[in-house]
């Protein structure tokens, strides 16, 4: 084994400034998830994605839109043609619906804004179906903080090895270069450049939907719809029967009302858990929205990757001009006094 002389490291080691910057990037990668509270927020994001999954399908959302149209049709008939039929049957003016069946009339006047609100909400959700699918196709949110921490730890371990065992640097730098390339390629492999901005668009679109106030408003609307449907089924329809209409005549003349009543349980079965999912995910949504903009996420991998790879490449090994004492002792001419 050659014996090396000199005060500085006699083997090809990294440039100190470069290794210092690489170490700083490693620390930054480890610290980043803590700064952005990713360990707390990312699992909430995963919960939100999982919580929305049953409702984020074209079939389901089309069904919800159809159900809103069914309610609309039933309410419209209840307050127009059915009200007129009642009025003509009893000799009352059509405007007397409020006096005869106040709950039905009240539902009729409340339904318009509810219809607009729910239809707009469902349209917004539906138009973000692709964005949701893109986010759901990303690696599990709970893994995200580790995508930073693990490379950061690897970088620090390699830097430590390079400092303690400089002769291993030439191998270690290739590991760093490979790690840098890995970080650059990861967002490409996960299609983050397209999926992450899609997630950002979904988060922005849900900004006005996933709020406590909006969810409570929907819960209130749900109560209004439930009471209103009950009034149609339990007050209006019996009144139509009392006015002399048979069930067959009611079905023929007011198909919207009959369809609403027949499908009401199905509507409850569909809408109730969706409202539950919206309510349960308000906190999760807010945690996700507090993360850095989704569009930046791929760059959180690419930039450190470029820096680590580039710096590792630039760091050396230092050439002979930088290392005048790298000549093994046994190859040097014997100095005076040496034996």
């Amino acid at each position: 084994m050659p014996v090396l002389s000199g005060q500085s490291s006699p083997v090809p080691g990294p440039r100190r400034w470069a290794i210092g910057v690489i170490a700083a990037i490693g620390v930054a990668l480890i610290v980043l998830p803590f700064v952005f509270s990713m360990f707390a927020r990312a699992p909430k994001g995963a919960s939100m994605i999982a919580g929305f999954r049953p409702y984020m399908t074209t079939a389901r959302l089309d069904g919800n839109q159809r159900e809103i149209r069914q309610i609309n049709s039933g309410v419209h008939e209840a307050t127009t043609t059915a009200a007129s039929a009642l009025a003509s049957g009893s000799g009352h003016a059509a405007g007397s619906l409020a006096a005869r069946l106040p709950d039905v009339a009240a539902f009729g006047s409340q339904w318009g804004p509810i219809d607009t609100s729910m239809t707009n909400m469902l349209t917004t959700i539906q138009s973000n179906l692709g964005n949701y699918d893109a986010v759901a196709a990303l690696p599990k949110f709970t893994l995200f903080p580790w995508f930073f921490v693990i490379p950061g730890i690897i970088v620090l371990i390699i830097v430590l090895i390079a400092v303690v065992r400089p002769r291993l640097w030439s191998a270690a730098r290739w590991v760093l270069i490979a790690l840098g390339i890995g970080l650059i390629l990861a967002p490409v492999a996960f299609q983050m450049f397209s999926r992450a901005p899609a997630g950002g668009r979904m988060v922005k679109a849900f900004q006005t939907i996933e709020t406590t106030a909006n969810v409570q408003s929907i819960q209130g609307d749900f109560g209004t719809i439930a009471s209103g449907q009950g009034a149609i089924q339990l007050e209006l329809v019996p009144s139509l029967r009392s006015a002399g209409l048979t069930d067959a005549q009611i079905a023929a003349r007011f198909p919207g009302i009959v369809r609403l009543d027949n499908n009401w349980v199905g509507i409850l079965n569909d809408l109730t858990p969706m409202i539950g999912a919206m309510s349960d995910n308000v906190g999760n949504y807010q945690a996700v929205a507090a993360l850095p903009p989704f569009a930046l996420f791929p760059w959180f991998f690419v930039l450190p990757g470029l820096l680590i790879g580039g710096l590792a490449f630039a760091a050396g090994p230092r050439g002979r001009r930088d290392q005048p004492n790298l000549v093994p002792v046994r190859n040097r001419p014997a100095a005076e006094g040496e034996s």
């Binding site: 209130g220 009471s227 009950g230 079965n269 858990p273």
Partner: protein
């Protein structure tokens, strides 16, 4: 015989005797106070009197649901169009197959808790009751179906005719969903409008009234509060 009366002896005896008597009386009083201040557990079944309309007002046992931001006394209350009550914000309830709520043991829902429509199939405590088109019912389970927290069996105690208790196992089932309706909640807290179990009990007639409120945490009725009013007679085990 001439007895010499020791000077002051009679007075001393009197004082000592009085002190002893006083001590004994205090001890007895304390013991009897302690006996009356110790709450007594009522283990058995709180038989439920069916909810009815009496002169247009709800009578017997019923349930109400307060909207978020409301008050348990002033509402706003959720209106159940399918309620038998004249005032639809009251949902009148009827005793189930066990006659009512058991303390000291659980009354779980069947293993298939719902039918295809989402109607609750639990019928031990109360009979399934229509709530906006779908039947709800209640059950007490050793593991709360909503929170998955293990809970103790319902417990009610009486002290000087006043009832208190722990009904954290009490849950309502509706539309394939379970909503804890206990007080305290399964984790022992009383969030929002959740109010302790209170009531009255007549030891002679066994007549009771039990009330409590439980805020719903999570799900479609998040932040709504169930207000429960059970009345009837207690039958000891």
């Amino acid at each position: 015989m001439n007895y010499r009366h020791a000077p002051g002896f009679g007075r001393t005896s009197l004082v000592v005797g009085a002190a002893l008597l006083a001590t004994a009386a205090t001890t007895f009083a304390a013991a009897s106070t302690s006996a009356t201040t110790a709450p007594k557990r009522l283990v058995g079944t709180f038989l439920i009197t069916k909810g009815t309309n009496v002169r247009g007002a709800p009578h017997g046992s019923y349930f109400r649901m307060v909207d978020p931001g409301g008050s348990t006394t002033k509402g706003k209350f959720f209106s159940n169009p399918d309620s038998r009550a004249i005032n639809k914000t009251f949902t009148l309830i009827s005793p189930g197959t066990a006659g009512g709520l058991k303390t000291g043991s659980f009354q779980p829902a069947p293993s298939t808790a719902f039918d295809a429509k989402g109607d609750s199939r639990a019928k031990s405590i109360i009979l399934p009751t229509n709530f906006t088109g779908i039947n709800f019912s209640v059950a007490t389970e050793s593991t709360d179906a909503q929170t998955k927290i293990k809970v103790s069996a319902p417990s009610i105690t009486v002290l000087k005719g006043k009832l208190s208790g722990d009904l954290r196992a009490f849950a309502a089932n509706w539309n394939n969903l379970s909503f804890n309706q206990g007080s305290p909640k399964p984790n022992g807290t009383r969030p929002g409008l959740t109010a302790p179990v209170t009531g009255t009990y007549n030891a002679k007639t066994h007549a009771y009234v039990l009330t409590w409120a439980s805020e719903i945490i999570g799900g479609p009725f998040n932040d709504f509060t169930g207000v429960w009013h059970l009345t009837g007679t207690f039958r000891a085990k």
